[in-house]
Amino acid sequence: MPSLHALANPARFLKLARPLTPILFWAGVVLIAIGAWAGLTQTPPDYLQGETVRILYIHVPTAWLGMAGWSGIAISCLSFLVWRHPLAMIAARAMALPGAVFAALCLITGSIWGRPTWGTWWEWDGRLTSMLLLFFVYLGFMALTRADADRGGDGRIPAIFGVAGSVLLPIIHFSVVWWNTLHQGQSIGLTSSTIAGSILWPFPFTLLGFTLYFAGIVLMRMRAILAVSKAEARMRRMAA
């Protein structure tokens, strides 16, 4: 089993990433398709929410990935600051756009679910507002990494921003506990759930499916960033 430090070598990483990219991506697509089909046709409507419960098979994985994406960015940025592995910063940059897209999807799908369930598209409560903040933090990180790269920076400032932004994660997670919010509390845990089994079973498919899909896209973006850096280095050598 190669260590994480060994994988930080770009050549070794690419050797692993090339076959892994399509495997993760297509496995994710298949699991999402199964989960979405099951969520739309094979589960009963909820006694309280009715058919709108089917939205949650999409909304919950997007919320998970919006937060997991930033956790990945924070860990990568910390690794970059501590060990100076350039691949760690490439990973953080690669996770930013997919993370922002999933955070936006979480807000949009939650808003669409809220209209028939709560009677409103939006409420400035703790969970919704902190998730919106996370989306803006993603945008800030993308702008900062681009500006830093354009100015020939060493990536330290975006890395510090990446670590500092992780302060939002516990706020989002505990917002439903700390404040009296319209958003319901946690109903799915790692080992237990308050949701009936007949409604719960498609969740692992969409949760794992979207996670693999996300990982496949991150690998694609890391490969793109690495290829561009290699091409730029080649051009600099030729110009010298």
Partner: protein, 35 residues
């Protein structure tokens, strides 16, 4: 209130956004690796 337009909208929006993201990332990767 009929819930199905809301359910359909969520699945369509997510499908379009996720497909667009994947397509963009794949094209960027292919273009960069061909250079």
């Amino acid at each position: 209130m009929n819930p199905w337009p809301f359910v359909t909208a969520v699945y369509v929006v997510t499908f379009v956004a996720a497909t667009g993201l994947a397509l963009w990332s794949w094209l960027e990767m292919r273009r960069a690796e061909r250079k």
